[in-house]
């Protein structure tokens, strides 16, 4: 390159260096102008959170795939994938109107397919708010896949996932978040320990009880056999993804950035409860069975996350530590209890989401603080069990509604398309039986357990 060309280049680069900040100045001025509307900033926040909550789908997918056997992996992933598709459809056509449309205190009745609704909901555009809520709905639906894993027919699952998203989840959601009777009573569930997790967990319990245990899970004398998960690295990736996405799940439920103090509090509480859940579950399983079982420790972190979901906005960080730690203990004992009752829940969906969802809902009444936005002070501040009582009513009525509703839905599916695959198909694996393809083509997998 000649000296002249070099000089030209240098001049051009210098000109750029001078010009870029000036250009950037005008851009940032425009950005700050458009953000000067509070709604713009809040929309960005809610959408980022919605994208994070969507990312829970692969989290659930990896956890469930890792905790089951290789021969059913393609099947569980197809269920995880399609249930978000079905939930999106069901929640658009019917679910949103039932949950957030005007109606009575039991269910909404306006806004089918989002027609005739105000363009702004809760301070953000309707479409952004819908996406955030649809991702929640998908999370509730996908919890059940794990509880009913390794033996549920695929067509039955498709029908189930549409119905829970269109009818069951939105009704409970309306009671709590859509101005229904629980909301009017002062029931508080900030991000969904009841609405999402208890609903999903109880639906999983009803389903797995109706399906009966997997072939070989319980010996003739009733003792539980080990059916080990086939991929612990996938399962732990899934747990990390869920933990990560939970920051969107909880902190996004503020629906607003505000001055940042609330989302900051929610985020730290979310993290502390998960951490203590992991530690407590590891310690419990270590003490009871002699080894720090990773799969149980990871269940413990998820249990802590589920438990902090309802109280995350209303409690101090020290309380989040206690809430998470107790959840971690509960989940280990919950898994043991189900084994004792001969209920086969392959990934621990009910202990994690059901039992710890109830625990988290009650925690609002125990550790909640009026100065952090709750209607009444919790028990430890006021000595008054009022809020615990309200929380209990909310939790019990949600459980009853889901148990009856899902009981009827699963029964109808069983009578029409059939809920469970044949014994031979179960033994050969649902990958071949339901989908005609294997998850690990070219690998030799022992299909004998």
């Amino acid at each position: 390159m000649s000296a002249k060309a070099l000089r030209l280049c240098l001049v051009a680069i210098l000109a750029l260096i001078v010009a870029v900040p000036a250009f950037a100045g005008t851009v940032s001025a425009e950005v700050s102008n458009s953000f000067s509307s509070k709604q713009g900033l809040d929309t960005v926040w809610v959408l980022i959170a919605a994208f994070l909550v969507f990312f829970m789908q692969p989290g659930f997918g990896m956890v469930e795939a890792g905790f089951i056997r290789a021969k059913n992996t393609c099947n569980i992933l197809t269920k995880n994938f399609l249930d978000f598709c079905m939930a999106s459809l069901g929640f658009f056509l019917i679910g949103y109107a039932l949950m957030f449309g005007d109606g009575n205190s039991f269910a909404g009745s306006k806004g089918w397919c989002l027609f005739g609704l105000e363009p702004v909901a809760n301070g953000v555009p309707l479409y952004a708010f819908w996406l955030f809520q649809a991702a929640f709905c998908g999370a509730a639906a996908t919890i059940v896949a794990g509880g009913m894993a390794e033996r549920m027919r695929f067509p039955a699952y498709l029908i189930y996932s549409f119905l829970i998203s269109a009818f069951i989840y939105p009704v409970v959601g309306h009671w709590v978040w859509g101005g229904g009777w629980l909301a009017n009573m002062g029931f508080a569930d900030f991000a969904g320990s009841t609405v999402v997790h208890t609903v999903g967990g109880v639906a999983a319990l009803v389903g797995t009880s109706m399906l009966k245990p997997r072939e070989g899970k319980f010996a003739i004398d009733g003792k539980a056999n080990v059916i080990a998960g086939h991929n612990i690295p996938l399962a732990s990736l899934g747990v990390f993804i869920l933990w990560f996405s939970w920051f969107g799940f909880n902190a996004g439920s503020t629906l607003s950035v505000g001055d940042g103090s609330l989302i900051g509090r929610v985020a730290i509480n979310t993290n502390l409860a998960a951490a203590l859940g992991g530690i407590a579950a590891m310690a419990t399983v270590w003490k009871r069975f002699g080894k720090p079982d990773l799969s149980m420790a990871m269940n413990g972190a998820l249990a802590g996350l589920v438990a902090i979901t309802a109280p995350c906005a209303y409690v101090e960080p020290w309380a989040a530590l206690i809430i998470g730690a107790i959840a971690g203990y509960i989940v280990v004992r919950g898994v043991e209890l189900l084994d004792k009752l001969q209920i086969d829940d392959p990934v621990g969906a009910f202990p994690v989401h059901g039992i710890c969802g109830i625990w988290g809902t009650l925690c609002v009444g125990i550790f909640g603080k009026a100065s952090l936005g709750l209607a009444n002070n919790g028990f430890i501040y006021s000595g008054n069990p009022m809020q615990i009582g309200i929380q209990l009513v909310g939790s019990v009525s949600a459980i009853a509604f889901v148990a009856v509703g899902m009981g009827i839905i699963f029964k109808l599916i069983d009578l029409t398309v059939g809920l469970r695959v044949s014994r031979v198909e179960e033994l050969r694996g649902l990958d071949i039986g339901e989908h005609g393809m294997e998850a690990y083509g070219g690998f030799q997998i022992f299909n004998t357990v």
Binding site: G216, V424, L427, R428, I432, G436, M437, E438, G441, Q444, F446, N447, T448, V449
Partner: protein, 113 residues
């Protein structure tokens, strides 16, 4: 001494193990195997293309027994593995000239134990 080799359906392994245990045969080696026989293959599809899988997954059992256990073992394998469908598998019985237990150096019938 005989070596009993059996090829069975993978999902029947649990039943065969139980039947062997009932017949007091506590020793067995198991390996994955692929093979074809009278049972036709089955169809899989991948991204819209159907293809026939004709090397089927089987499980191979090897059990070394003394003469007085041969019939018991065969009966137990049949009891566990038989469904009456094509594909249940086959049992081969071959003479076993020698057997050595590595730990003690014992040979023959004692080594089979």
């Amino acid at each position: 001494m005989k070596l009993i080799i059996a090829y069975i359906q993978p999902y029947k392994l649990k039943d065969v193990k139980q039947a062997l245990y009932k017949a007091q045969v506590y020793k067995v080696s198991v390996t994955n195997a692929l093979g074809c026989g009278e049972q036709q293959g089955y169809e899989e599809s991948y991204r819209g293309i159907k293809f026939e899988v004709n090397l089927l997954k089987k499980v191979r059992l090897e059990i070394a027994v003394n003469e007085n256990f041969v019939e018991k073992t065969i009966d137990a394998i049949i009891e566990g593995a038989k469904t009456g469908q094509i594909g249940d598998g086959k049992i081969f019985v071959v003479d076993l000239p020698e057997c050595v237990r590595i730990r003690t150096g014992e040979r023959g019938m004692k080594a089979i134990g």
